[in-house]
Amino acid sequence: MSDNDSRRNELDPLESFELIEWLKTRDPLLGQPTQPPVNEDPVAQRIYAQVVQEQNRNVPHDATGKRPKSWYAKRLLVPVLVAATLLLSAAALLRTKPAVDLTQVGCYNVASLVDASVVVLPLEKSPIAQCREAWQNPEYKEVFSQERIPSLATCVLEGGVVGVFPNEPPNVCERLGLAVWDEDLEPAELQQELVSRITSQFLDKCLALSDGAQIARNELEALGLSGWTVTVAPASEPEFVCASLAFDWAASSITIVPIANLWVD
């Protein structure tokens, strides 16, 4: 047996076996149209986007594939990943009660929930004012690369998280199937105070759910808001062990919302 014969036998002892040859003629893909190159294949692009978004829910990666430390504290650019996180929190909220989360705002660079990059900031003022600043902030120039700031509109994402989108053409909230932000929900002075006092203690760390609830109760008491209630929403996933929160102004309640630990190294 020659070296070539020996190698062929090693690689495929069934090479001459008719079942293999028969199978080759039964390849289900025979006769199928040629697929476009991956870069031009919209299905491939959609699947890629799906994979990236899915993974960005809980696991931010930097260029080396490692998680950046203190990524949230540094307000790192957390584009699609935070969109997913927002939606995740929103989904948890939706299962409890309708509420608007006034703790953070997502500034979207395009009018899309899927193809956008998003900068998420703690909500400190009007959502549009805050996002306009983000558009002008050199720190986020990779996300907001357009030469001019477009007209912006504030929408309420499913479950109550606030998102600000380019509003060109108009009615972006309706086009995306989102609720329009009700300006009456802009936090009044007391609400701002409440939000500020509580959320500052929730940022940059993974608070246990019970600790988060206790902080909320303490601050409500300190502000004399005795009619308010604090409830802890059930965790939709076992790994959702950290506290985020949502305010329901109409019902005078705060919901502690379990989320994944985004701060783990």
């Binding site: 690689l11 991956v38 870069n39 699947i47 890629y48 193809d115 990059s117």
Partner: protein, 191 residues
């Protein structure tokens, strides 16, 4: 992770976005996706029904992302690792759907052959679509997969070993057992 998107303006003035490049913050993953997407899609398409293909492919690459640190860096091994992952994803799908390996069902449907045990005892054996299909159809799902990997994915024994998570020798023995089993079946038909 930042995916790069290209804005396009249509003639009517409306805008839409489409992915320009596969650029995340994990370039190695992006490269692996581009290099292996079609191979994985082909592998999955051969083994399940159309409407499940996208989900299985997406799940395969999702697992790859999650376990990126565990994946070998060599391109060809990476590709085999992805096939292995796609295979396990399909097995989970089969289990959850409580149905048999679609591979066999699909082949049976295409060749319209009878299952082996319904072939008449007097039928003289010859290599025809009917009895080759019957022989293939009577093999276990695992044996079918080994043959399919060789015929359709062009795998060598070394590659089979990686996909089946076994040693080279173990893969070789499994292949030999398939071969023996096929010979038994052929003899059975011949008798």
């Amino acid at each position: 992770m930042v995916a790069e998107w290209e804005r396009e303006e249509k003639v009517d003035g409306s805008q839409h976005t489409r992915a320009q490049n596969f650029q995340s913050t994990n370039p190695a993953f992006d490269a692996a996706f581009i290099a292996n997407y079609q191979r994985i899609r082909d592998y999955v398409s051969r083994r399940t029904i159309t409407h499940e293909v996208d989900d299985v492919v997406a799940e395969t690459f999702t697992v790859a992302w999650r376990r990126w640190d565990e994946i070998p860096t060599e391109a060809e091994i990476q590709s085999l690792w992805l096939i292995r992952t796609a295979r396990l994803t399909l097995l989970n799908l089969y289990r959850s759907n409580r149905r048999r390996n679609n591979l066999q069902l699909r082949l049976m449907a295409e060749s319209q052959q009878e299952p082996l045990d319904t072939l008449g005892i007097d039928e003289a054996y010859e290599f025809t679509d009917s009895n080759l299909g019957a022989i293939f159809g009577s093999l276990s799902d695992d044996d079918q997969e080994i043959l399919a990997l060789m015929a359709w994915e062009g795998c060598s024994i070394a590659e089979l070993a990686i996909i089946l998570e076994s040693s080279h020798n173990a893969a070789k023995m499994r292949l030999q057992r398939v071969k023996d089993r096929v010979r038994e079946l052929i003899r059975g038909v011949e008798q």
